[in-house]
């Protein structure tokens, strides 16, 4: 029986910002161009596959808040550094779905009708950047955190996600930290395991400084074992941190 999800629980992370509350529609599209090879004498048109691409489109409400939709979408347009995006599919839950991508903002529009709320739309063209085997320049994966705030003293190993089997072609992980009041460095990693008992670091994100909000996308090649989990530790003695980690296998 299919497991449908409702779109109302979608979440939108762009760089170090959780912009979920500003948007009410998120669309992901993947396309693969074809080049026509029809020749004289053919009865049917023929094609060969060409270049593929992924696009993310967001729409929602305009707001001039600090770190809000307008401020961030304006800042990203034309930015030399491609932002890191994670779209949570469905409810926040370790093991739930997520799409990870790195994408350039190509369009930002504000609409202010006389009898309705001011709205925004933004389009992002995904780019593989350093992750050359990122098909369509985006990838579907799983949430390794529920994106909730965790106190400094409660950081540690989060629940594992069972993929039923290992995979051989590497993967990519995204990290978003929209809030952080921990007063020391925090280390966040993705670990993998073949038996859900002994673990090894798979991806180590750049160490997060005290009270630093940040984001990162990192990729690995080769074997990704059956089980994955996120783990975090800190040298800090106070505060809490909210971090979203998602991982997509290739």
């Amino acid at each position: 029986m299919p497991s449908f999800i409702h779109g109302k629980s979608t979440a939108v992370y762009i760089d170090e910002f959780d912009l979920t509350s500003y948007f009410n529609d998120a669309s992901i599209s993947q396309e693969n161009e074809v080049a026509e090879t029809t020749a004289f004498g053919d009865t049917n048109k023929t094609y060969i596959t060409g270049i593929r691409a992924g696009t993310i489109s967001l729409s929602g409400m305009w707001a001039s808040d600090t770190d809000g939709s307008d401020e961030e979408l304006v800042a990203l347009l034309g930015n030399a550094t491609s932002p890191v995006l994670t779209l949570r599919q469905g409810a926040a839950a370790i093991g739930g779905g997520a799409v990870v991508a790195q994408a350039n903002e190509t369009n930002y529009a504000i609409t202010s009708p006389v009898a309705d709320v001011s709205t925004v739309t933004a389009d992002f063209e995904c780019t593989p950047n350093q992750v050359s085997n990122l098909t369509f320049a985006l990838a579907s994966g799983v949430q390794l955190t529920a994106g909730a705030s965790i106190a400094h003293g409660a950081l540690g190993n989060l629940s594992s996600v069972d993929n039923s089997a290992s995979s051989a072609n590497g993967g990519a992980a995204t990290l978003h930290i929209p809030t952080n009041t921990v007063n020391g460095n925090t280390t966040i990693k993705v670990q993998h395991s073949a038996n859900n008992t002994s673990w090894a670091d798979l991806i180590s994100f750049t160490v997060v400084g005290a009270s630093t909000k940040t984001s990162e996308l990192k990729a690995v090649s080769g074997t990704v074992n059956r089980y994955l989990r996120a783990t975090a530790s800190t040298a800090g003695s106070s505060g809490s941190i909210t971090f979203m980690v998602a991982f997509a296998r290739f």
Partner: protein, 53 residues
């Protein structure tokens, strides 16, 4: 159980965790000979020193 040294994997920086304890590259660890960490190269066997039995 046989002793192994944590290699750090491909990056040379990967820690491993066994039975809730974290081991950094260079640390010694005891594992069953069929543990997946051995086959994956996260640890390597310790060569017995001369005189070891």
């Amino acid at each position: 159980m046989p002793k192994y040294i944590v290699t750090g994997g491909e990056t040379g920086e990967a820690n491993v965790e066994v039975n809730g304890k974290t081991y950094a590259p260079g640390d010694a660890i005891e594992l069953k000979p069929n543990d997946w960490l051995i086959k994956s190269g996260y640890v390597k066997a310790v060569k017995p020193a001369k005189g070891d039995k």
